[in-house]
Symmetry: C2
Subunit: 337 residues, 2 copies
Amino acid sequence: MKIVIDAFGGDYAPLEPIKGAVRAKSELGCEIALSGTEQIIRKTAADNGIDISGIEILDAQSVMTYDDEPKAVLKKKNDSSMAVGLKAVAAGEADVFISAGSTAALLMGSTFIVKRIKGVSRPALGAVLPGLNGHVLLMDCGANAECRPEMLKQFAFMGSLYMEKVLGVKTPRVGLLNNGTEDSKGLDLQKETNALLKEEKEINYVGNVEGRALGLSECDVVITDGFTGNIALKSIEGIGSAVGKKLKGAIKSSFTAKLGALLMKKQLKDFAKSLDYSEVGGAPFIGLKAPVIKAHGNSTEKMFFSAAKQAVQWAGSGMIEALEEKFSGGDDKEEKE
Amino acid sequence: MKIVIDAFGGDYAPLEPIKGAVRAKSELGCEIALSGTEQIIRKTAADNGIDISGIEILDAQSVMTYDDEPKAVLKKKNDSSMAVGLKAVAAGEADVFISAGSTAALLMGSTFIVKRIKGVSRPALGAVLPGLNGHVLLMDCGANAECRPEMLKQFAFMGSLYMEKVLGVKTPRVGLLNNGTEDSKGLDLQKETNALLKEEKEINYVGNVEGRALGLSECDVVITDGFTGNIALKSIEGIGSAVGKKLKGAIKSSFTAKLGALLMKKQLKDFAKSLDYSEVGGAPFIGLKAPVIKAHGNSTEKMFFSAAKQAVQWAGSGMIEALEEKFSGGDDKEEKE
């Protein structure tokens, strides 16, 4: 198995992707490649005393920046670290691509270079959130702002399969994100999707769920359109960040509090860990012919390593094959916006 | 000033509403009335040794339950504690109504009994959230699932006025909840609303904001449709509840941790308080001829008291008059669903 990590994606590139790649190589026992300008990668590694022997470099001449139009990944910047990594996966020379670069560019590049599985209308971006009693997969959380009921139905199937095959959740409970649990709730999209999902026998559909389901792990997969999913995800990230800052402020506010925090060190660490999305890896982009993982923009060594661990599980799970079989019967029509 | 509290709304009715009313009467120096079946209110007070002298009772023969259709408040249950309270406010016999009963019924009852301010298309439900650096008003958070840009523009004005007049925030920063900050982001609703709000000179519009803005207090008022607002609010409530439970679990997990928590007692209490929506009162239903406050379904004495404090500030703020003046020029057309 070979994993490609974009050495030039994210706020701390190329150093942190390089460090993550080295750790993944040594701990996961799989082949690792870095995509990006070879000269800079080698110099950064040397300057920081990092031994990158055994790591393949897929040389790339440019970098996708946040100022680039997402579609630049396909033409003007088709020699970027992102495009080169995606092309390696598309050609079957590697199994998974991980990038902390621009989400919009990665979604566009993945869709047009790696391509969607036949029968999948639209790939969707999932976010694995730390809930009260286990992880919750929220999808779509940003790839498709506008969705039709049939798309959400596919997301339900894809999300359920991801939780089962990659995260090992047996018969995952799938809920539809809505403004109430009754069947009468929601806009047309939710009402029609709820009716469709109730008929679906292959997934464990538990009905409409409210936003609370995400934090409280009321189900394992929460399905929604990309606009609503983005709002829910960012709302949760914001409150998580505020909570962390408030707690740190509380601890620092007095000597006694600091002493108390010292006694609670292990528990506070576990508490922080339970809220930490960096433990989970990245956001899986599901529905493509090969796994692509969007790592958080502020990814560090640890987060690239977590994403690589997730990549190994995903690529070895047989999920892509299962999706290909599931959707092979359907007509291969891509949803147009 | 007279505040009416629904004695039969919420999970802990009638005892907690009664206790909240007594505390409000003694601490806020305003008239307090309880709406509900007089006999039960008097017996509950007597059984619990509570002196309710000086508190007016607006006798009501029935109670709106969660099994009742919301519209029952207008006809079949127009003698309920909720309907009786609303009618007192509509008749000018009281200034504010507070209820922890069914949100849908309260919204319907308020709209048809208290009635909207002339020129306001749709009243909206606000939620005052505890952010990192001060409160954030999210609205609409559930009254109008589907909205048009002109409605959101009115919400922006109403929300800004509420934060300024009731919570004392000078020139509140107003943001539009969206899936990104660029002008190109969002569905048609967000794009059109963003363009409308940019032209509005009377409010301090800061542009599109992401869900993170809520927890991180990136602005003071966050405007959205009632569907999206409900998802954001419930997502935040769920994660808040999960965080509280996780932290309690961490503290209880060992003797040393308990000791540490004891040393941090004041700080942990302040931390919990900073996350606690019960400090803020209830959700203001804005755009009606008189203030109506939806208290949380699990409201206790403290939360009814907070809502009463909020009611006093609101009723004395001159906000309703300012809204009447602002919208008096417009045509009085109610939005139809």
